[in-house]
């Protein structure tokens, strides 16, 4: 379950035949380096490794478990604590709204979600709530056509709220209606207002924050602002097909006290995976 470099660190601990303070500290340092390289927030890394050290030194291994298995289990459990379990994505009628920073992958992810639900037998509907970005209408429309999904947008409108209202009315037959919105960050207060207004109109069952896997831990404040503005129900981490580990995105998950729902692993519309903690954890630990 753990990355190979971490397995080596744990191997070091057990070579000494017993778990002592020095080797536990070495392990904690290795884990810290791996997580800091993956952009996990400094304080979160500190909390995590303090817990691991404390448990490794003070907990008794359960009956029949070797010290080595016990330490591996502790590391895995503490990682799971911050990464979160698999998220339940209900297979039912629902309205979904996607928000996030500029360029994070919302529009592409909207179409991926439509594809996902369509394959599960739920008719999707895509609504272009981005009236700002040049070509946004064309982009989402073209993606909808690729998967033969119903689409609503108003090419010339500058009123995102009205477009979304109209879209919800038009797409009454869609079981899962997915609202794409323009990129925005916390200092663009007029855009944050717009997002709050779209949220009031849609009253989404799920509000997903779409985050690029390579984002730095500065995203912590962003996650906070988005959560305070509309409440975040889940995070979708995109662009995991690169080298980024998603530690920054994880910081956002922890800050917004939510879970990871999906992972984007490429530009194609079928490159969306349900979140599964084990592989995410081993990727983080390098």
């Amino acid at each position: 379950k753990l990355g190979s470099s971490l397995k080596n660190s744990v191997r070091k601990i057990v070579k000494k035949g017993r778990i002592d303070k020095e080797t536990v500290n070495e392990l904690a340092t290795d884990i810290q380096r791996a997580l800091l390289k993956s952009d996990v927030d400094v304080e979160l890394v500190q909390e995590l490794t303090d817990k691991i050290k404390d448990r490794a030194l003070n907990e008794e291994p359960p009956k029949g478990a070797s010290s080595r298995e016990h330490v591996i289990r502790i590391v895995y459990e503490e990682m799971l604590e911050i990464v979160g379990e698999e998220t339940e994505v209900p297979m039912e009628e629902q309205d979904i709204m996607l928000v996030g920073l500029q360029g994070s992958g919302k529009t592409t992810t909207a179409a991926k979600l439509a594809n996902y639900f369509q394959k599960k037998g739920l008719k999707p509907g895509l609504i272009c709530g981005d009236t700002f970005r040049p070509g946004a209408y064309n982009q989402l429309k073209e993606l909808s056509q690729r998967i033969d999904s119903v689409f609503y947008g108003e090419k010339e409108s500058e009123d995102a709220i009205q477009v979304v209202k109209n879209g919800l009315n038009e797409l009454k037959d869609s079981k899962v209606r997915i609202v794409d919105t323009a990129g925005r960050h916390s200092l663009e207060s007029d855009l944050i207002d717009e997002m709050e207004q779209i949220n009031e109109v849609v009253e989404p069952d799920k509000k997903f924050l779409v985050i690029d896997a390579s984002i730095g831990k500065g995203v912590k404040d962003q996650a906070n602002s988005f959560n305070e503005a509309i409440g975040i129900d889940g995070v979708i981490i995109t662009k995991l097909d690169g080298t980024a580990k998603g530690g920054g995105a994880l910081t956002a998950v922890s800050e917004a006290e939510t879970n990871i729902a999906f992972l984007g692993t490429g530009e194609k519309l079928n490159e969306l995976e349900e979140f599964e903690p084990d592989s995410f954890i081993s990727r983080l630990l390098g």
């Binding site: 390289k37 992958g105 209408y137 960050h185 730095g216 831990k217 500065g218 662009k239």
Partner: protein, 278 residues
């Protein structure tokens, strides 16, 4: 009095942490602080100057040293034979297309004409996006149909510029992952065929340590000439600027400060380092 390790070390940890918290990559933060330590140990300081102030001043200089001497983009434009062919490359969603529109506007303000070459023949809505920008800033867009050869579009744009006395060709390319061998081969081919006068790597200020990986890969693939860092207006420290400069040692020429055509400004090392140290 001479500084030794014990004088210096307590501050180094704190400085390294401040870099990490500003999103500078771990290995870059460590290298900067290691170099600082070796520069400081053995330094003579005046009796009255306290070592903390000395270390912090040296730290500021160390950060300034990370940035290669500034490259003046407009001097380059002034001096180079026209048409000047500039290629923009980078990973997905960093702001290449928007940056091209901003640069075109900035060139206009300095009296230079430009065409936008739509080298993203792949992504949904890419052609319409650049078309709309062209319409908004009243600039010609050279494009082929979707799925066409990006090198051919840019080549066309250069031919058009030669025939019509246009000063600058701004070549847009599709975003691509540095891990995608085929797409990185494609960008090498675009360079081979269109022989750009300047290759600009665009990355975003909100990036974390992955900025190191992608800067390295793009630089190895096409030998980047300059960097533009977008989205500096988002509420982030922008440590990616330090990670990128340290890794590929190429000058940052502009920063993107918003989504509008005017939202671009020339990169200034002192200003940026001041921001990081705040």
């Amino acid at each position: 009095v001479f500084l030794d390790e014990d004088d210096v070390e307590p501050y180094l940890e704190e400085l390294k942490l401040s870099l990490l918290k500003s999103d500078v990559a771990l290995e870059v933060s460590e290298k900067i602080v290691e170099k600082l330590e070796s520069n400081l140990v053995g330094e003579e300081i005046k009796w009255r100057e306290n070592s903390e102030k000395y270390v912090k001043k040296a730290f500021k200089e160390a950060l300034i040293d990370v940035f290669p001497s500034e490259f003046n983009f407009f001097d380059f434009i002034e001096e180079k034979d026209k048409p000047i062919n500039i290629l923009f490359v980078g990973t997905n969603g960093v702001g290449k297309t928007t940056t091209i529109a901003k640069i075109s506007k900035a060139l206009e303000e300095k009296g230079y004409s430009s065409v936008l070459a739509n080298g993203d023949t792949f992504r949904a809505g890419a052609i319409q996006q650049l078309d709309k920008h062209g319409e908004n800033i009243d600039k010609k867009v050279i494009k082929h149909e979707k799925g066409g050869d990006p090198a051919a579009v840019i080549y066309d744009a250069v031919e058009y510029s030669e025939a019509n006395n246009v000063d600058v060709v701004l070549g847009d390319t599709a975003g691509r992952m540095h891990t995608d061998v085929n797409l990185m081969d494609q960008i090498k081919k675009i360079k081979r065929v269109t022989k750009p006068d300047l290759i600009v790597f665009v990355d975003e200020a909100v990036a974390g340590s992955d900025a190191v990986e992608r800067a390295k890969e793009f630089d190895e693939a096409v030998d980047v000439d300059a960097v533009i860092l977008s989205k500096i207006d988002a509420d982030v420290k922008g440590g990616a600027a330090i990670s990128i400069s340290h890794t590929i040692e190429k000058p940052i020429i502009f920063v993107g400060t918003g989504q509008g055509y005017e939202d671009i400004k020339e990169f200034n090392t002192d200003w940026f380092v001041g921001q990081i140290l705040e």
